[in-house]
């Protein structure tokens, strides 16, 4: 029988080793899998490449993972925000690498990776610093750059509900990068607010079909990153 449910965040991330590439869902705190990230902080894997839109806030969640010195390289579109100081400090100190990618190109590279597309062309970033060094090509009179599909060893994602087959639905704008990161990772690890019986999610409304999900962990009441930041909390 298919049973993708795992007992705890710690179990679910236990095989994320040093040097792994890890996609982490979320746009700011919305959709950020904070319990899975904290489990990865506990696990202590180092030299990670993290692919995520942002770099976290305060000293919890993704920011805690970075502050803990576990991340060697970030691939992201927007590594700063109001309460983001961990990444900037390490970046200025030369202790973390950054590959800056336009947000839509980042999303499409992840989707391409998941869809078996090794490369595609986009007009985004043509003629800018972020397009430099990239193969350029004209189609129908317009210039494009070639971008590569992006895959990862693991994805950490937060969804709303899931079933034992791994089918997922999300909440509002917390959906963001979750579905495409599940597609692009060899092992997609998802924390959901609730695990439901198979058949409880309308098959017409499934957002991530179970084939893209390997592990599911129930976290009924996830921490709210912005609350923790406001309280000045630090993880661990």
């Amino acid at each position: 029988m298919i049973q993708k449910r795992w007992s705890s965040p710690a179990d679910a991330v236990a095989d994320i080793g040093d040097g792994a590439s890890v996609m982490i869902g979320g746009f700011g705190e919305a959709g950020s899998p904070i319990e899975l990230i904290h489990a990865l902080v506990d696990k202590g894997s180092r030299n990670l490449t993290v692919i995520s839109n942002n770099t976290g806030s305060g000293r919890v969640g993704l920011a805690a993972l970075i502050a803990n010195g576990q991340v060697a390289r970030m691939i992201c579109s927007y590594p700063r925000s109001t309460n983001s100081m961990v990444f900037p400090e390490l970046y200025r100190a030369g202790k973390i690498e950054l590959e800056l990618v336009p947000q839509g190109t980042l999303a499409e590279r992840i989707r391409a990776g998941g869809a078996g597309i090794p490369a595609f062309f986009t007009a985004t970033a043509v003629g800018t610093q972020l397009g430099e060094g990239k193969e350029r090509r004209t189609f129908d009179g317009r210039d494009y750059v070639m971008e590569r599909g992006l895959r990862a060893d693991f994805a950490l994602v937060r969804a709303d509900r899931g079933d034992r087959h791994g089918n997922l639905v999300y909440t509002k704008t917390a959906r963001n990068f979750g579905p495409i990161m599940c597609m692009a990772a060899k092992v997609a690890i998802v924390q959901v607010r609730q695990v439901v019986e198979s058949g409880c999610i309308d098959p017409e409304a499934v957002v991530t079909p179970g084939i893209f999900v390997q592990r599911l962990v129930e976290v009924p009441c996830p921490e709210q990153e912005s609350h923790l930041v406001k309280e000045g909390r630090c993880y661990p």
Binding site: S77, S81, R92, P102, Q103, T105, I110, G127, T128
Partner: protein, 226 residues
């Protein structure tokens, strides 16, 4: 009694947003950048229905929620809480940028650090060695959306022109800007360079040219020119 001489400041930020909103057609799909562009939602003409898109996965952004009813999972690209209208739709990031890159959005309203008379836009980085580079979705928006309009103060806080012959900051896109709304004027980017279409009350064309880092053509109907 003579009044103390005052530097005319032209339009307010809300005026600028109102002028930009006036030019957005009924039924348009619009993405708003962070800052002054956000004010556009408050000035949509009452007989117009405009659908606002936020790149983090929502079409049909509604007004800000009442205090206390914010949902941390319902936010805009500026990570501020929003609401969703009846007829909204949620989608993932790749689908969201398919809308942008695929030319499905009608208008992108963005802020600017610099706009050149060729329509180049710089709005993501000062290029300083110490700065943390962060681009977000700006490059995708300017490359993909049908019409790119800029809402910005005409000059920097220190009085430097933002409308220039050549951008000195790193570019967001080349030849992408269609129109600029500033506190002083509405200026189109044309093959001939900047063309003023409307100038704020109390501002002369000469003042406008003085505060602009590239030649401007006066494109106003003859009756309005001073």
């Amino acid at each position: 009694m003579s009044q103390p001489s005052q530097q005319p400041t032209g339009w307010s930020r809300h005026d600028m947003a109102r002028l930009a909103a006036r030019d957005i057609h009924d039924g348009a799909y619009v993405n708003l950048g962070i800052g002054i562009p956000e004010l556009v939602t408050q000035h949509v003409p009452p007989d117009h229905e405009v659908i606002f898109h936020t790149e983090n996965g929502l079409l049909g952004v509604g007004p800000s929620p009442a205090a206390g009813s914010e949902d941390p999972e319902l936010i805009n690209a500026g990570k501020k809480p929003v609401t969703a209208i009846a007829g909204a739709a949620y989608f993932h990031h790749a689908d969201s940028f398919a809308m942008i890159r695929g030319g499905h959005l009608d208008v992108s309203v963005l802020g600017a650090m610099q706009v050149s008379s060729r329509g180049d836009l710089a709005n993501w980085s000062t290029g300083e060695a110490d700065a943390i580079p962060a681009v977000g979705g700006a490059m995708d928006l300017v490359a993909g959306v049908k019409r790119v309009v800029i809402l910005t103060e005409h000059t920097t806080k220190t009085g430097e022109p933002k409308l220039v012959a050549e951008c000195t900051y790193p570019l967001t896109g080349c030849g992408v800007v269609d129109r600029v709304y500033t506190n002083l004027a509405i200026i189109d980017v044309t093959p001939e360079g900047f063309v003023a279409q409307e100038i704020a009350p109390g501002i002369t064309f000469r003042e406008l040219q003085e505060k602009t880092g590239a030649p401007i053509i006066d494109g106003r109907p003859r009756s309005e020119s001073q």
